[in-house]
């Protein structure tokens, strides 16, 4: 069975909530099942085929979304398997609650991408908004599995309350990166804004350069060899998640331990100081 290509009919108007538009549904019920889905656009509900043209195409069982100028929110929400490729930008909550499969965004994505993600992979060719891998509004746990790679920059509160998994941002991130992080790994290629790691309990934030000021709850653990970096580098290079500014050999890095003000033993590793 071929995949399906969904092209937005009308790019003006309020955002379209793409919740439920998943490869699983295509696999189970074919294009008919997709066409009959009711989607929210603003306050109104519409059949999917009144908002999109549906064509065969793309890899088998995969969805290709062509948003044009329309804002698509919740792309890949709760996805468990298969592939979605977005040929353009995404709105908010791309890949939120994702449990499996692969979501590729060829443009930018909005806030709450990969929020509460539990598995699978999200690749963003452009930038990501605030709350990448964080909890959804009212939630208490951020990302708990899977991997996110952002080729551009990301906003504030990347990986907030993150518990497991990997977030790699090749560019720069905003303030409060890894705030209240419980575990997991955040990789930042081009520096981060203020208050990184605030109240983090465990987990690792790999940085290309030291924060402008060492957060008050962190102590400087000095330079050492961190063998796990060798394993991580191999893994991330294979997945395109090792930022180009990071060293490609050696395991030395400077380690900041914290946030001790929250009883945390997380770490910020400064790789460029090796």
């Amino acid at each position: 069975m071929s995949g399906a290509v969904l092209t937005t009919r009308d790019s003006s108007g309020p955002p379209i909530d793409m919740t439920g538009v998943l490869p699983e549904r295509l696999a189970e019920g074919g294009r008919e099942a997709l066409a009959g889905l009711m989607l929210l656009r603003g306050r109104e509900r519409h059949r999917l085929d009144t908002l999109f043209t549906l064509e065969d195409g793309g890899p088998t069982g995969a969805l290709v979304l062509r948003p044009g100028g329309a804002v698509l929110d919740g792309v890949g929400t709760g996805m468990t398997a298969g592939d979605i490729r977005v040929e353009g930008d995404c709105g908010a909550c791309a890949g939120s609650g994702m449990r499996g499969g692969a979501l590729t965004v060829e443009g930018n994505c909005g806030a709450f991408a990969a929020a509460e993600m539990a598995g699978g992979s999200l690749r963003v060719a452009g930038d990501a908004g605030n709350f990448l891998g964080a909890p959804l509004a009212g939630g208490t746990r951020g990302m708990s599995g899977g991997s996110v790679v952002v080729a551009g920059d990301a906003g504030d509160r990347v990986g907030e309350r993150m518990r497991r998994g990997l977030i790699a941002v090749h560019g720069r991130v905003g303030s409060l990166c890894g705030a209240r992080m419980i575990a997991g790994t955040i990789v930042v290629g081009a520096g981060c804004g203020p208050d990184a790691g605030q109240a983090m309990r465990r987990g690792s934030i790999l940085l290309s350069r030291a924060p402008e000021a060492i957060p008050s709850g962190f102590s400087d653990g000095g330079m050492n060899d961190w063998l796990f970096l060798e394993l991580m580098r191999k893994e991330l290079i294979d997945g395109g998640a090792w930022p180009s500014g990071f060293p490609t050999a050696g395991t030395r890095a400077r380690r900041l331990i914290g946030d001790r003000s929250a009883g945390g033993i997380g770490e910020m590793l400064i790789l460029s100081e090796a």
């Binding site: 690792s204 050492n224 961190w226 063998l227 796990f228 060798e230 991580m232 893994e235 033993i265 770490e267």
Partner: protein, 299 residues
Amino acid sequence: MRLNGVHIEDTFAEAFPMLGTRLVVTADTPAWVQAAVVSMTGFATSVIACGCEAAMERALPPGETPDARPGAAVLLFAMSKAELAKQVARRVGQCVMTCPGTACYAGLRDGPSIPLGNALRYFGDGWQIAKRIGGRRYWRIPVMDGEFLCEAATAAVEGVGGGNFIILAADRRAGLAAAQAAVLAIRAVPGAILPFPGGVVRSGSKIGGKYKGMIASTNTAFCPTLRTAVPASLVPEGVESILELVIDGVSEAAVAAAMRAGIAAVADLGAAGGVVSVTAGNYGGKLGRHQFRLHEVMA
């Protein structure tokens, strides 16, 4: 059967199932790998009294290890999962974690899980850090030279213990030369180890003994000095020295391949090298379910 003048007895080696695992130990230099491995596999010759049987399977070049450093693959075998887990934790904790610069990884993926770093993490006293990389979990335990990196768990495989063959030689020098040739050949076989010192056993045993409580006692049938005193002696005239090679493997096939390689190396020395015959230890089917018939192994 005769190979190069060496008589290969029509008998079988009797072996038994064991649970085994493979660990990969790495360090900064081959010398430190060796230090860790020698220590970890020390006093691991026989489950009769050591708890496990272990030895280095082969050295690993940096290109074959997870952290691109020199390393070694080690196989450990025990009689139960619980005993294997205990021995792994003790030996890695006391002999690998203590050795400067080392790291320890699982060498098997499929099978029942045996705690590795999971059993050692508490040594970190709360400062240990778990890290999942590539779908596998590791523990980073702070130690005085930095950090001990240890995979969380390894896997167990049902292997074979007690594969063996016995070299009957004209004298001790000839017997030792033949045994050493066999050891070299067997160490090139993947999935098999020789747990005894230098790979060779000179005190082969029989089940039970004259004294109450003895699990095993000297194999009187193969003691040349008792040839005329023991009615059931299996020592032919002209044999002064007998050595046994005991092989544990991750599979029947690995043990058979190791036996084949070892016996072939012995036969290469031939009768001219002082080797009279090759036989194997069997216990009338009382010891275990695996039987390796020498003629089939060498066919």
